[in-house]
């Protein structure tokens, strides 16, 4: 036993080295299983999608006849609208479902809801759920539908990380060798977890910063076992933001939920602001032209000062814009359609649908 069973691997459909059998991607669950070349492909096609979004008539027929359901068990504005817009621009039919006002309120389980949606012939389910691993449950149990994780608990938010990678890559033309400081409640941040994988995989230097009570120090424990070329091997931790931010190319501030103070993670918001707020004085220590990012929604004046949030270093709105393009690229990749110029190039002739 103890993972030594030869039968286990076959059962899991894994190759002896433990990596999933290669094939076209069916699910986007996290960035941990994305290779650098796959990430580059997504960023590349997102560039094309961005061009579509810049047109007068934002509609191409690429996913006509495909059905996407957004299944959200948590409140969301930007992610949900972003997926909906992405699907619609590509001419997919997008159906939004939220836990309130649906069969979930009658006690239907996540799995049964998933099976029901699958039975309707849906192609892709975009799911957000307050519990880590919920999209994995669907991916394991549904066999005819692709799953995109739009945020699961404190685990992962791969599409956010991809749009962050896209945004940085667009500004700097590269990701390799850049210094990214992620500051704040890293422990409870799915955005941070996915970004750690994504940026580290692409060769950026990732530094996690925040109060020790809010850093996922366990994640880095025993990582020497993973080998020195593993993405997590190079991740650094520094609780002192003034020091961590020195020479940073990108500063990513995370949302600080006010509940953290009541739960004892912090003495007070005041102390948090004094020690970890991204503000002008601190940003002065970063490299000239450093970018400031935030996954939103912001607590302006807490984790980020108003002047920074709305200053010229912030790319927070670009992040939102790019989110649509990146999600278009992912939906397109999952559809199994190989990118071909004519499909993307021609705006839909018949404007009657979707308008």
């Amino acid at each position: 036993m103890k993972s030594r069973s030869p039968a286990a691997g076959e059962l899991l459909g894994l190759q002896p080295n433990g990596s999933p059998i290669a094939g076209p991607r069916r699910h986007v669950l996290d960035l941990d299983d994305f290779t650098t070349s796959e990430i580059r492909n997504v960023l590349e096609s997102a560039k094309g999608m961005s061009e579509v979004l810049g047109r007068d008539i934002k509609k191409v027929p690429a996913l006509r006849g495909r059905v996407i359901v957004t299944l959200f068990y948590e409140a969301s504005t930007r992610t949900r609208i972003s997926f909906e817009e992405a699907g619609k621009v590509l001419s997919a039919d997008v159906i939004n479902m939220s836990s309130s006002g649906s069969s979930t309120e009658k006690g239907e389980s996540l799995l049964n809801t998933g099976l029901t949606i699958q039975a309707m012939g849906v192609d892709v389910i975009v799911i957000r759920h307050p519990h880590s691993g919920a999209p994995y449950l669907l991916a394991r149990c549904l066999d005819r539908v692709g799953i995109i994780n739009a945020g699961d608990g404190i685990h992962a938010h791969p599409t956010q990380a991809l749009l962050d990678l896209y945004t940085v890559n667009e500004k700097f033309g590269t990701l390799e060798g850049l210094k990214l400081v992620i500051v704040g409640d890293v422990m409870h941040s799915r955005v941070a977890r996915s970004n750690i994988w994504g940026f580290a995989r692409m060769g950026a230097r990732v530094v996690l910063c925040g109060p020790s009570t809010l850093l996922p120090l366990d994640m880095l424990q025993g990582r020497e076992k993973l080998g020195h070329d593993h993405p997590l091997a190079s991740v650094e931790v520094d609780t002192d933001l003034d020091r961590a931010i020195e020479g940073a190319d990108i500063v990513m501030a995370l949302r600080l939920q006010s509940e953290r103070q009541n739960a004892g993670f912090l003495p007070s918001l005041r102390e948090y602001i004094r020690r970890w707020q991204v503000n002008d004085a601190r940003l002065g220590r970063a490299r000239d032209g450093a970018l400031v990012m935030h996954p939103g929604p912001m607590n302006e004046g807490i984790e980020i000062s108003s002047s920074i949030a709305h200053g010229d270093r912030a790319v927070i709105e670009q992040q939102v814009t790019n989110g649509v393009a990146v999600r278009m690229a992912l939906l397109y990749h999952l559809s199994g359609v190989q990118p071909s110029a004519p499909e993307l190039g021609d705006t839909v002739k018949d404007h009657s649908d979707g308008r």
């Binding site: 894994l14 433990g18 990596s19 669950l29 941990d32 691993g133 994640m219 080998g227 593993h230």
Partner: protein, 453 residues
């Protein structure tokens, strides 16, 4: 219990007979007559007298039936998870002839009438011996003591609020003091509810990567240290349930050195698999999650922990710091597990894999076979008290509770074939080595290779 009709004498011939209570380990013939062990004699191939049924058992191990001092049979109230009937069939298939049922039923076993119900079902429905464990506190609420004297008179074999700890240290102290003269152990599920709050798996690298709330080792160890101190204070009989951390093993070891009499158990899963199994049953070297991550069948309290903890537990079992193996068999219905990891119920269906899992330690030379058998027979009997000794030996004149197992036969776990209603095992599809061939209770064959007799 099995029927009482007189059966012909039975000779189990040529097996390796291990009877730890008597220090026996040799090839021998075991004769069973009138439900009792008649004799254990050096093996011969002489013809047997007429009318004696013979089981040829060369290559097999024969030992006293296993005793599980910690399982959940779910009856009454939770019969959709398990019943005394199905649970006892699972037990005998796993080689257990005696099981002790935890009282976290609905309602809980906190009064004599409920004890009577379980004992009555044990008589009418069970293939194995089933003994009830009674609550420490009324309704398992941790506020007032249950009527421990009356529970003892009614036939409980230990006390526990299992599933929940006795949180209030003073109430635990009083329970130990009050029950000291009853001669029964209080088995405590050590879990500091503040430290473990919201946790669903072991705190550590895997939990952090999967974004699952962790349970620190200190949640177990802090209460274990408390209970050891209370055992020293009161002289009461503390039994520490399901140790899962290296630190807990050290605490028990220190207690013994200080002369504090506590007993301790460990579960087969904590001896063999780690929290890596939550990420995927293979130890994925790159730490990447797959759709097979978050297997809710790995969710158990206490949680699966690190390789270091597994090593320390195996060490503690080998050197006797841990008295016995207990299954903490916790069957659940499908829907309790077909949910997100956070929503899933804690627990593993263990009875039918316990022996083969535990034998992994023997195959890996981390414990001898006789020592392992001891931890499944006279070890648990010692925790329960002297009157259980006859159920944990092959001494002539004692009840013929016997298990015959093949220590090296390989088989693939398929929970679909479990006798237990609980199909919740993380070992589904895994090849294990070691399988029960037959189980006897009171001299009756209650389980036989593949089908119940």
């Amino acid at each position: 219990m099995a029927g009482s009709a007189k059966a012909s004498p039975l000779l189990i011939r040529g097996a390796r007979v291990i009877d730890p209570a008597r220090g026996m380990d040799r090839v021998a013939d075991v004769l069973v007559r009138d439900g009792q062990i008649a004799s254990v004699t050096p093996h011969t191939t002489e013809a047997t007298p007429d009318g004696v049924q013979v089981i040829e058992a060369a290559g097999m191990v024969v030992c006293p039936g296993f005793i599980d001092i910690h399982c959940h049979l779910r009856e009454p109230g939770l019969e959709y998870k398990e019943t005394i009937y199905t649970g006892s069939r699972a037990a005998t298939k796993g080689g257990f002839t005696t099981v002790c049922a935890m009282p976290n039923t609905e309602p809980p076993i906190d009064n004599a009438a409920m004890v009577g119900l379980v004992r009555q079902r044990a008589t009418t429905d069970a293939l194995s011996r089933v003994f009830p464990i009674g609550c420490v506190t009324k309704g398992r609420r941790g506020k007032e003591l249950a009527e421990m004297g009356e529970l003892a008179d009614a036939g409980v074999v230990a006390f526990s609020d299992d599933g929940d700890p006795v949180e209030d240290p003073n109430l635990m102290r009083l329970a130990l003091t009050y029950s000291a003269d009853l001669g029964l152990a209080i088995s405590n599920h050590c879990q500091d509810m503040s430290l473990s709050y919201g946790g669903v798996m072991a705190e550590g690298r895997v939990a952090s990567m999967l974004g699952l709330p962790g349970i620190p080792a200190a949640a177990e160890e802090s209460m274990m240290a408390r209970d050891i101190a209370l055992a020293g204070l009161t002289g009461g009989r503390v039994h520490l349930a399901h140790l899962s951390t290296a630190g807990s093993v050290s605490l028990v070891r220190q207690a013994r050195e200080r002369g504090i009499a506590v007993t301790a158990e460990v579960c087969p899963h904590h001896l063999t698999i780690t929290d890596d199994w939550v990420l995927g049953r293979q130890t994925l070297a790159d730490g990447v999650a797959t759709p097979f991550s978050y297997d809710t069948c790995t969710k158990v309290y206490p949680p699966l922990r690190s390789e270091e903890d597994v090593e320390a537990l195996a060490q503690g079992l080998n050197d006797g710091v841990i008295d016995c193996i207990a299954t903490d068999h916790a069957p659940h219905e499908r829907v309790s597990k077909e949910v997100t990891y956070q929503d899933a119920a804690f627990g593993i269906s263990v009875l039918e894999t316990a022996l083969a899992s535990s034998l992994t330690l023997v195959h890996e030379s981390r414990i001898s076979l006789p020592a392992l058998v001891e931890r499944l027979t006279s070890g648990p009997a010692r925790v329960l008290g002297p009157r259980f000794q006859p159920l944990a030996t092959l001494s002539p004149g004692t009840p013929a509770d016997i298990v015959i197992f093949d220590p090296v036969r390989e088989w693939v776990v398929d929970s679909g074939g479990f006798e237990s209603m609980g199909k919740n095992t993380p070992l589904q599809g895994v090849t294990l080595k070691g399988r029960v061939v037959a189980t006897l209770v009171d001299g009756h064959i209650v389980y036989e290779d593949g089908e119940n007799g």
